[in-house]
């Protein structure tokens, strides 16, 4: 596989890796490369593109913060986790995150200087950070981030809004569905679940209210059937290839991102580029895993980007 990758744009990025080549190493190297390309964009950008690009990095920052906090919970060393953090989400106060005990601590002491500060409004609480609360924190942060990003794009107006707003709306709806699906059978209450849904998108507000009451996959499917876009997606779940809901959503996202390249002079191309690169990385990692687990038949169940 290393040889095949050498013939593409990726070139010799794996050249310095010693054997054995694990899936995790491939993933890390690809991320570094993407980060390099992204930094290149950023260094050449002016306002408001640089704000747009900063918004894009916020989602990775949120993931890194949660990773660090989980690591603190598991009593792991900071250095170990820092190595695994997503490079696009790097910020200077990262090492200090593991000291925080409660979300307000986290905010006041550490994150107040980062772009994540405005997203903490709904998350301030004195509860200690255990698993349930970390998950809630992650989802609430992401919700505020998405809403802020959406508002930014909308205010920017013009082609960017035309292109980005549907993509972000789909992202919001997707999160609502996935949160609902994964919360079946866990200790997350329905009211808590409802607070995690982003307040925009096609599902807002009636769909979200219905989703909050759903208790199993079929009920969720009924809610989705009300919306023309989501009905065919849910029907494609299962089927012959054993597709999961996440697969179907990824496919739809890829389609929307590819369409973003059809318009000119808007910022959506940067977003679409990064997201499509991410999908490419996911595909490569999937293929690598299939090879290492000797499931050659499953290799083709990745999502092609045309």
């Amino acid at each position: 596989m290393k040889i095949h990758l050498q013939t593409t744009d990726y070139g010799n990025f794996l050249a310095n890796q010693t054997n054995p080549l694990t899936v995790s190493k491939i993933d890390t190297e690809m991320r570094k490369r993407l980060c390099g390309e992204f930094e290149y964009f950023r260094n050449h950008s002016l306002e408001p593109l640089s704000t747009f690009l900063t918004y894009m990095t916020c989602s990775y920052m949120i993931d890194n913060v949660i990773l660090l906090m989980n690591g603190a919970l598991q009593k792991k060393s900071v250095k170990e986790i820092l190595g695994k953090c997503h490079p696009l989400g790097r910020f200077t106060e990262m090492e200090a995150v593991n000291i925080a005990e409660t979300p307000s601590d986290l905010f006041n002491a550490i994150l107040i200087e980062t772009p994540l500060a405005p997203f903490f409004q709904d998350c301030m609480s004195e509860n200690a950070l255990d698993e349930l609360n970390i998950e809630l924190l992650r989802n609430k942060l992401y919700k505020s981030y998405l809403e802020a990003f959406y508002k930014f794009c909308k205010n920017h107006g013009d082609v960017t809004a035309d292109v980005m707003c549907p993509i972000l709306e789909f992202e919001a709806d997707r999160r609502a569905f996935i949160i609902t699906l994964n919360s079946f059978g866990t200790e997350l209450s329905k009211e808590d679940r409802e607070t995690l849904y982003p307040t925009f998108g096609k599902l807002y507000p009636e769909g979200l209210r219905l989703l909050a009451q759903a208790e199993d996959f079929d009920q969720m499917k009924n809610v989705a059937d009300h919306y023309g876009v989501y009905k065919p997606l849910f029907e494609a779940v299962g089927g012959s290839g054993g597709k999961t809901l996440e697969d179907v959503f990824y496919e739809h996202e890829v389609q929307m991102n590819v369409l973003a390249f059809n318009r000119q002079f808007h910022y959506g191309v940067f977003y679409a580029y990064v997201k499509l690169k991410e999908q490419e990385m996911r595909n490569i990692v999937w293929i690598a895993e299939c090879i290492s687990q000797r499931h050659r038949t499953k290799i083709n169940s990745y999502i092609p980007i045309l």
Partner: protein, 180 residues
């Protein structure tokens, strides 16, 4: 006469041994299938959640198993292994095989006297909202665990059977020259 009895015993022992071997093969195949399924589901979960979210970062380096191995002595000094949840405090000593049973995403156990809270489900290491494939992986590995204990018992029985067989064959040899 004694030789005839011995032969009959030998035959029945051989039949039982062959039956056990067949069962062992079957169980091994199922175990392999389960473990493969488990790893594939883990790969799918990594696809959905991101590669770094399902990996060695998520679990502490010091784990406590949720499931214990109970070794009991059946008749004729034969050891049987049973997989037991740690909530049930087993009076017999827990076998030293636990170390070998550790898996990356395997069950964890809490030492019963120590902690007051219920044993933590290892699924929660990866967050509260985990994708379906991760739950499937856990189910596959759990089934595999049960099978592993059965396989260990079976293998013990087979070894015991073989040694019995050898003993009987020697006795027969001793009797034969005498009878002839």
């Amino acid at each position: 006469m004694a030789a005839l009895d011995l032969r009959a015993e030998l035959d029945s022992l051989l039949l039982q041994l062959l039956g056990d071997l067949e069962e062992l093969e079957g169980k091994r195949a199922v175990l392999n299938a389960r473990v493969e399924e488990g790893w594939l589901s883990l790969a799918k979960a990594r696809y959905a959640m991101g590669t770094k979210s399902v990996g060695p970062l998520q679990y502490a380096s010091h784990m406590e198993p949720q499931v214990c191995l109970q070794a009991s002595e059946a008749q004729e000094g034969l050891q049987k292994f049973k997989v037991v949840r740690s909530g049930v405090h087993a009076p017999e000593d827990v076998g030293p095989r636990e170390g070998a049973l550790r898996r990356r995403k395997g069950p964890t156990k809490t030492p019963v006297p120590q902690s007051s809270d219920a044993p933590r489900d290892p699924l929660n290491w990866f967050g509260i909202l985990v994708p379906h494939s991760l739950r499937q992986a856990q189910a596959s590995f759990r089934d595999g665990l049960q099978l592993a204990a059965d396989i260990a018992s079976l293998q013990n029985r087979i070894d015991w059977g073989r040694s019995q067989l050898q003993g009987l064959q020697e006795k027969l040899k001793q009797l034969e020259p005498g009878a002839a």
